[in-house]
C-alpha cells in the first residue's frame, strides 16, 4: 500500500531554535516529493523535490530528498512564531495522472 509517514506528529520549540521535520514514503512509481505549510486554511506550497541530494532553500527553510532511503527532511532555522503551522509532506506517484498522497502532517508550535 502506498503511504507517506511524517514525524514527529507535533513539536513545540522556542523562537530561535532549529527544527527538522521528517517524511518517509513508500509509493509506486515515485515522481517527486512536495512540502506544504498549512496555517488556518489553504496549504501553501513550499518545495518540490525530484532529485536526490540537491538542497532546495527559501530563506530560513530548506529541504532535501534521499531517493535511496526514501525520505525527505524539512529544516527551519532561527524559528519564529510565524512558523507555527502544520507542515504537510506529499509524494507524487503513479502513471500518467500522477496524483499526490499526503502524510498526516507535523504540527509545529513556536513559543516566544
Amino acid at each position: 500500500e502506498d503511504k507517506v509517514v511524517q514525524s514527529p506528529l507535533s513539536l513545540v520549540v522556542h523562537e530561535g531554535d532549529t527544527v527538522t521535520l521528517n517524511c518517509s514514503y513508500e509509493v509506486t512509481n515515485f515522481r517527486s516529493l512536495l512540502w506544504y505549510k498549512q496555517e488556518k486554511k489553504a496549504p501553501t506550497f513550499l518545495f518540490m523535490l525530484t532529485s536526490s541530494g540537491i538542497e532546495k532553500k527559501s530563506g530560513r527553510l530548506s529541504s532535501i530528498l534521499d531517493k535511496k532511503e526514501l525520505f525527505s527532511i524539512l529544516n527551519i532555522t532561527a524559528t519564529q512564531t510565524g512558523d507555527s503551522a502544520v507542515y504537510l509532506c506529499a509524494a507524487h506517484y503513479g502513471g500518467s495522472q500522477g496524483n499526490l498522497i499526503f502524510g498526516k502532517g507535523t504540527k509545529l508550535s513556536v513559543k516566544p
Binding site: 512536495l34 506544504y36 486554511k41 496549504p43 504537510l88 506529499a90 507524487h92 496524483n99 499526490l100
Partner: protein, 112 residues
C-alpha cells in the same frame, strides 16, 4: 497570475440535506482540478480529480459526487448528507501532472 476561489468558507447542514460546494480557477486554461477532504488525524484524502470538462475520476466510493461543467469550475455535491461527511474540504488545481498543487481556502462542513 492564477487564483483559486472556493465557497462557502463554512457550512452547517442537517443530515439528509443536499450539498453543493463550488470552486473556480482564474488565470489558467485546462487545469487539472481536485477535491480533497481533510479530517482530523487522517491527513488529506483525495476524493475526485478532473483533467478536463466532463471528465471526473473518483478515488474513494462514497456519498459524494463531482462535476466539471466548465473548464475552470469544479463542483462537489451530495444528494443526502451523512454525519460522516463532516470535514474540511479543499479544492486544488495544477497546471500539469508534474506541477505542484495549489489549494483554495477550504470549506468547513459540519453535518448535524
Amino acid at each position: 497570475s492564477q487564483t483559486i476561489h472556493q465557497w462557502p468558507a463554512t457550512l452547517v447542514q442537517p443530515v439528509g440535506s443536499p450539498l453543493s460546494l463550488e470552486c473556480t480557477v482564474e488565470g489558467t486554461s485546462n487545469p487539472n482540478l481536485y477535491w480533497y477532504r481533510q479530517a482530523a488525524g487522517r491527513g488529506l484524502q483525495l476524493l475526485f480529480y478532473s483533467v478536463g470538462i466532463g471528465q471526473i475520476s473518483s478515488e474513494v466510493p462514497q456519498n459524494l459526487s463531482a462535476s466539471r461543467p466548465q473548464d475552470r469550475q469544479f463542483i462537489l455535491s451530495s444528494k443526502k448528507l451523512l454525519l460522516s461527511d463532516s470535514g474540511f474540504y479543499l479544492c486544488a488545481w495544477r497546471a500539469s501532472t508534474g506541477s505542484p498543487l495549489h489549494f483554495g481556502n477550504g470549506t468547513r462542513l459540519t453535518v448535524t
